[in-house]
Amino acid sequence: MKNFNRRQFLKSSCGATIGLPILPSLLSQFLSEKAIAATPPPLRFVAIHNGHCQAVEQWLPNLSNINLNKRSENVSEYNLSQISGNLTPVLGSSMDSLRNKILLINRLDSTSGRPNHNAEFILSGGVKGDFTSTLDHVISQKLSGSAPLNLFIKSVFDEYNSGASHVSVLNGNYSQGDFNPSVVFQRLFSSSGGGSGSTGGGSNTGTTLSRRDLLIADRVYQDYLKLKNHSRISKNDQTRLNQHMELLYQVETKLRAADQSNSGSSGGGNTLTCNPTSPINNSPVKSGINSDYAVIIDQMFDVIELAIKCQKTQVATLMLHVYDYFAGNVGFISGISGSARLHEDIGHAGDENTRKMKLALNQFFAQKIARFLKNLDVLEDPTTGRTYLDNSLVLWANDQGALKDTNGHTTINVPVFLAGSAGGFLKTGRYLDYGTPYSGDLAKRAVGGNEYGQYIYGRPYNQLLITIAQAMGLQPSDYQGGSSGFGAYGDWTNDRYASVSNHKTEILPFIKG
């Protein structure tokens, strides 16, 4: 339990009585270019999830004319620049200019069959309830002491949005997310706003952060504190109120920092002009027009891009749609026709025609992600020549994989796409296969093993999460929750991966730069 001695703080920083009218914004909006140049750029992590069953061969290079380089008994690689034509059916040519900045990974598996439309798998290896918090929270807490920016695309037709980001879990509960990019933009970039991430100090939208807010927050906090200890508050109610108070405290901490910064007590603020020239206004989240789905996805990526470039956040997640039987119609996407329900008609597609539509859908997502990555791939650090993308790690993954010819809910061989090297931690530009090589004809197929009996398991997906954690500068003690490894491990851990040594303690082999 934290020792919240904020009354003392208020007395010391603000005095017992504060005269207003309100001071101008106490948060400095700008960071100095000079200061940036003198400080190594921060690392960032972005996780993207698009959901539903996958045909994994669409995600992998065509191996028919390739001889993989064997690095060890169960690790093979290939240089992406040497692949002629499209990298993969899903990526098409959209990522061609980024070939040396991405990693395609084959044969990472769940350690159980539990994940089933559970987006949180991509940051935990399991299902909510089987672990405490997803990796985005762990990283964000370590890097900035705040929560990540959790975003989700609400289907424009889905009036019944669930409100949860689904990718992200904190202390056993789905994190609430944002579905309206203009609201997020407003919060991050309003003339007086400017917290870091969705948890930043921007407690006021369109008004001025001020010492007044600090005083209000303090009195509200006192009110909660008194009630929390009431004898008629049950333990569970206390837990809920504690959570509320913890969040209030975070807000107050930000306000306090802003107040100190403004008054010069902490050495002044940073100043870099980061004034987005194209504000995101009036996102069409309620337009009911199918194609606005594409507009909102672009706007979401724009918000993340701006938040990264303006140092508003270091960790973000984006779920590209809410899992729902009634999710919107995506017939506006080229290549998709007829009944076009995201989940039932495409997600569970089985025949050749619907598999093509599944491919078209993923190509659509790939183009959106390529646009985002290219926007990040501009110079950030003149000293090292690294771009924002270089200093980031972008994960595009799914909770479901599938072997060729199947489209059901299976957690084997989940698609994994990485971009950015996390400041040089990862050696990008490669395809990496983490399973024992197939032989004969199977070796030349994108998905070597076909049906269940022929698939040779690779490595637990969790090892990728450990890799990401370390790439972002975390030590094992930062992410291990009392036992080795990270996230949820299922029943298959010992059966299928018994021979994979040190998968709970080491990063993926041969992935480092």
Binding site: Q186, S234, S339, T410
Partner: protein, 673 residues
């Protein structure tokens, strides 16, 4: 076990059972007859037990469950396995009774009385899930399935955050001229939507940073608007000049409109706290903005706090809630927002403690437009009106003009039906479930039903009740999703919690919806696919409810065959329909039904459907699943719902809705342990 020990065991059991029987029979009664129309005084505080560590402690959820489990283990375990591994999970009261009668090996259990069997059935229906079903369904709507022990504690009340809807509706009620949603759209969108659990959005009690930030920004913006509005200053603060601070103005507000915002009077600590804030800011306007903003962010505003009640029998976990808290409960339960000035004043003046005044206040509240809106929200979530899929069938299947207006017309029809039977005619649940009245007004529905907008009825041989209307039947594609139709009926109307399939060990192709085939009907394909025992655990319930409605196509048009189309819309095959199913509603009392109109008739007479309707209202209102501890409340409410079945009174839906604030336990708070 030796023969002698078996005998000893039997003797011991018989003695024990005799004692248990005597206690049970004398202790438990079906409360149905004992409740008065307005049971404000029921139960009196003396009915409640003195506490769990006192002699004669009341029978709570755990006790009832334990009793049922114990009875099972004593009487049934030798054949069906011990309770925790029983093969008879989910058996109903009726099926147990019939088995005892029909199976010779079980004839010896005829000595078990009805109450004992009901407890066994309750336990079998609730084990392991943590959500014990409080009902023991006999099948007959006239038999109240809920047992009520008059000394039983109420179900628990947790401290709940206002839902997003409640929060916004409360602000709109408090500040009707100043809280204009258009002006606050950014702030409103910043408040996370409440997650839906099962059907309802009212159980989300989570809080996130987005909540905190949104509450803060909205409160300060609204407070600024209020302080700049002359009418608010005049009527709510009564101090014309806010630039100069005044203690009397502060007191006037805190003891006046501030109380309504707070939903109770401030205690001295709270006054000190907020006075401290007010005093710490020298500028008058900013002091007021800060004060109002802080109150709007306080736990007493954002949460439903009930801490001021009177302990019952000196217990620390059971209270009669205060008048202020009662007014809040009534308002949130029936209108989905905090109490208005009138109700608040009635609470202050003690009118809620008078039974007849209480009754007339309830009648006024439930007749209000706010209550109507709130109940429409319940219906909307209960019937999944907002989740009706967007029809996306090709033009050869349905013309674009019909397709484009179908969803909105279907939503409106369902709203009109509930409006008509809940308020206009004050009808019954049976009316909802069996009506053939025509509510179709637009071109899409009149075309689909084959009626004119001014027709009084729709063809009764084709449709009966709400479950046969387009809004319940529409699929997004041209293929009917039989499983999802079945799921909707079993989940929404029978309160079954159907888990998703266990995907880890199933051939994934089995989980895909069967493609229409010229060789085999969809029903035949689905029957084949779900035949394995592991599937039938759920599909034995799901499938019949889908099969029985096969005579409606994907947009709810009546059909007599299943047509198979090619990709251009040409019919390449037709399969006859088989609408005969055993609906699996009341276990062994079920008879085969042939088609949806027969099913609707069975549902309208089923205690299970009526009980589910009651439970859904309680679940929605309390924001949690019902438990066995709610059985007294449910007993009372169920009786209100089916009044007309057992006496000459007319059954009214509205009676059931209002009964939730009239049932005996409504005015008590049981603290969560």
């Amino acid at each position: 076990m030796t023969e002698s020990s078996k005998v000893r065991s039997t003797v011991n059991f018989s003695l024990t059972w005799a004692l248990v029987s005597v206690v049970l029979v004398s202790f438990y009664t079906n409360c149905t007859g004992s409740f008065k129309a307005v049971s404000l005084d029921q139960p009196s505080s003396s009915n409640f037990s003195a506490g769990s560590d006192s002699p004669g402690a009341g029978s709570g959820v755990g006790d009832q469950f334990a009793t049922g489990k114990s009875l099972y283990n004593s009487n049934c375990a030798s054949c069906h396995g011990v309770f925790d591994q029983t093969t008879k999970k989910g058996r109903s009261f009726e099926s147990i009774k019939i088995a005892i009668s029909d199976i010779s090996l079980m004839n010896s259990l005829k000595s078990l009385d009805t109450v004992s069997l009901q407890y066994i059935a309750q336990a079998l229906n609730g084990m392991g899930s943590g959500n014990q079903s409080p009902g023991a369904y006999t099948g007959d709507i006239k038999t109240n399935p809920y047992l009520c022990n008059s000394s039983q504690d109420p179900g628990i009340s947790i401290t709940r955050r206002l839902t997003k809807k409640e929060y916004l509706a409360t602000l709109a009620m408090l500040f009707p001229s100043h809280f204009n949603t258009n002006d606050f759209q950014i702030e409103i969108d910043s408040i996370p939507a409440d997650s839906v659990s099962n059907l309802f959005s009212t159980s989300d009690n989570s809080v996130s940073m987005n909540h905190i930030q949104a509450y803060s920004s909205l409160s300060t913006k609204l407070a600024t608007r209020l302080i700049e509005a002359p009418d608010f200053l005049k009527t709510k603060i009564s101090c014309a000049d806010l630039n100069s601070k005044s203690e009397s103005c502060f007191n006037q507000f805190i003891n006046g409109y501030g109380k309504l915002i707070f939903r109770r009077s401030f205690d001295s600590d709270e006054i000190t706290n907020y006075k401290g804030l007010y005093d710490s800011i020298s500028d008058g306007k900013n002091a007021w903005i800060s004060l109002i903003s802080a109150i709007l962010q306080s736990p007493s505003f954002l949460y439903k706090m009930e801490l001021k009640g009177t302990p019952i029998n000196n217990r620390s976990d059971l209270f009669k809630i205060s008048n202020y808290e009662l007014a809040s409960r009534i308002a949130f339960t029936l209108t989905g927002r905090g109490p208005d000035q009138q109700l608040f004043s009635e609470a202050e003046s003690g009118q809620l403690t008078n039974a007849s005044q209480y009754n007339s206040i309830i009648q006024r509240v439930i007749s209000s437009q706010e209550s109507k809106n709130h109940l429409q929200q319940f219906y909307g979530e209960y019937f999944s009106i907002d989740r009706i899929p967007i029809p996306s069938q090709p033009d050869w299947f349905v013309s674009s003009s019909i397709r484009n207006s179908l969803r909105s017309e279907a939503q409106q029809e369902l709203k009109d039906i509930v409006e008509y039977y809940t308020w206009t005619t004050q009808g019954s649940l049976a009316d909802l479930l069996t009506t053939d009245k025509n509510f179709a007004k637009g071109p899409a529905l009149t075309s689909i039903y084959g009626v004119n907008s001014d027709d009084k009825t729709i063809p009764s041989n084709q449709r009966s009740g709400i479950t046969t209307r387009a809004g319940i039947l529409i699929s997004q594609s041209q293929n009917v999703s039989l499983v999802h139709r079945g799921l909707l009926i079993r989940r929404n109307f029978l309160c079954e919690k159907i888990p998703p399939p266990n995907f880890s060990d199933v051939d994934p192709t089995l989980l895909m919806a069967p493609a229409p085939s010229p060789l085999e009907s969809t029903r035949a394909q689905l029957e084949k696919r779900t035949a394995p025992a592991r599937c039938m655990t759920c599909h034995s319930s799901l499938n019949p409810m889908g099969f029985v409605a096969e005579n409606y196509d994907a947009i709810g048009r009546f059909r007599s065959t299943e047509k198979i189309f090619d990709s251009s819309g040409n019919v390449i095959a037709e399969h006859p329909l088989n609408l005969k199913v055993s609906p699996n509603i009341n276990a062994t009392t079920d008879k085969e039904v042939n088609g949806p109109t027969e099913l609707a008739s069975v549902m309208a007479k089923s205690s299970r459907v009526a009980a589910c309707f009651t439970e859904q209202w309680v679940t929605f209102s309390k924001g949690r699943d019902v438990t066995m501890a709610d059985s007294c409340s449910l007993n009372f409410m169920y009786q209100r719902l089916i009044n007309g079945e057992t006496n000459s009174t007319k059954s009214k839906l509205l009676d059931m809705f209002s009964s939730i604030v009239q049932e005996p336990h409504f005015q008590y708070r049981k603290l969560e342990q």
